[in-house]
Amino acid sequence: MKVEAKPDFQTSTAPKTGADLLIDLLINEGVDTLFGYPGGAVLPIYDAIYRARGTIKHVLFRHEQGSIHAAEGYARITGKPGVVIATSGPGATNLVTGITDAMMDSLPLVVITGQVARGIIGTDAFQEADVMAITTPITKHNYQVQSISDLPRIVKEAFHIASTGRPGPVLIDVPKDISAGELFEIPAEGTIDLPGYQPTTKPNPLQIKKLADAISRAKKPVILSGAGILHGKASTELTAFAEKHKIPVVTTLLGLGTFPANSPLSLGMGGMHGTYTANMALYEADLLINIGARFDDRLTGNLKHFAPNAKVAHIDIDPAEIGKNVPTQIPIVSDSKEALVELMNQTSESPEAGDWLATLNKLKEEYPLWYKHDPNGMSPQWLIEAIHKVTNGEAVVTTDVGQHQMWAAQYYNFEKPHRWVTSGGLGTMGFGFPAAIGAQMASPGSTVVAIVGDAGFQMTLQELSVIYEQNLPVKIIIVNNGALGMVRQWQELLHGNRISESILHTHPDFVKLAEAYHIRGYKIESQEELITKLPEVFAYNGPVLMDCRVLQQEKVFPMIAPGKGIHEMIGVKPS
């Protein structure tokens, strides 16, 4: 162990244990908030947190899953790693869903788990779980700390790995004897030692030239914009590029907001519940420029029918995504912004795509998103539109998973990036509400709306305590259809209307539930009630829960049924 004076530690007293060192290292990385839950194996770390109070904030969630989804919401809004702490065994295993969710959606997290002391690892000790083995396939990387002197390097590497290249979760498993271990000398500043990790961020100029040439020759070009634009903070560049060449843009579910929804070049979302125009554009295109999307099956539908006539260019920072699902003629491994800047520097011509744009505009007019107004109740789509209106389309919107998620994606027209927080790859029910807590903590001045289902909300509602305690003005909108709506829809459409275990016959009184947690709650049963209540709710600077009763039978349309091609949408027009 090298001994060196460390004058830049920010706590006033020198660290005393491995845990104190760990907390100091987190502060040095710029961490201001910890999302956590204590327990036996992390008691030394919580001692250090106690000593560091005032320098770093810890928010106590009511379930580890809540803490990690909140950290994901925080990471999605700030682009900085969310930092989670949990104890060994059950604390760590409660994080598994969130870690997987972050891995699938490329969210930077640094997850710190306690572990039993090194001497008893492998003996089935109390609250021991093989967290390293459990999390190996669901982390970008993981570490178990074997010596206090490794901590500075490991923490530095963890933040570096989590937040560079294709972001993702990194876990640090800290045995109790390491965190409790007395620190006799302050280890030297950590240095990153990762010869096997050098993400490519600059595009190959030849491939850029190839793409520029392909653009000038294209007759039916389309851009597919994914979350890679968010990670590269490249929305402005994307918009400039699309406008320069008059190329229409389809966004993925996670890419909503990367391109302004009201732009004439915007075709909306593609995929299973995307717009007819977006999907037909992908189907008919002769040049498909994918920027930072991973050709997920919910986007492509049956691969046999996906972009059958297109030359495919794919810009992605992760080389393993290129060619994984769709054969790619122009592979560009790069950061999205760097590639777009280089593309803008090319002097090649814009495509002659006037006819193409005219055709797409006609499709847009002919096949807009649609729903029926029912005099007997509130349509969920209308509810989303009403929320859009009262928030001027400027809220940070988080969702859970299900029908309400798709309606929020379809009807809350996102104009700006970093305002949309949803679980895309893993489709994790229980994500939406805690993610809103993290988003609100990341952006205290923003209006944050959690649009959740009546079923999914009940998976993580215990975090109501947190919004009360922290006085976070999150607005919870329960899109209450008395059902596991998305499951019910599939059963109705694809399983012969056999409605099996997807109706929620009893519900708690959500208003009383909110009140039990000291939060304002309202039951909304009609459009009129909603219209009168919404302005008041959104003017109030505190948390509110709205239990909005919507039509149970409503379905998400249009839709690509499983196994079908992207051009075979059903429900494209009112029947």
């Binding site: 390293m132 396939p137 970008k140 990387h141 993981n142 096997g196 080389p319 393993a320 060619g323």
Partner: protein, 173 residues
Amino acid sequence: MKRIISLTVQDRSGVLNRVTGLLQRRQFNISSISVGPTETEGISKMTLVVEVEDEQRLEQVTKQLNKQIDVLKVSDITDKAIVARELALIKVAGSSQLRSEINGIIDPFRALIIDVSKDSLTIQITGRPDKIDALIDLLRPYGIKEIARTGLTAFLRGHQPQVNELTTYSQIK
């Protein structure tokens, strides 16, 4: 098709688990795997023989392996000029009377008898997997009691021929 994949990795705990777990998750069959230290301290070499359906999946798994933080280099060396060897220990039934007869069989393989007991003989052979298979076949009539094989280990020859000569060097089918 079988492919030989050579990996240079950092010798850190969990790296073998990451590599084999990844192959399992992406549904690759591992025929053999061998791991050991290299000329550089802290760096290990792994040689994997895997069963792959098509080029596209091979490329995908190579890229996924490359993404692992502790993996420094991944190369499919199947079609390169390589030296590839495996070691096998084969225990056959029989007493020392059989010794000269067995010696006659194993001699052309440059194998050795390394242990003799009352009722068994143990043979050590080094070579390409097909050569080992051939010897095992010849020894089968004597009654094979036990086999232990190391799995293939390989690296590039000092000299790499021009591209058009390559196919003749393919070591396994």
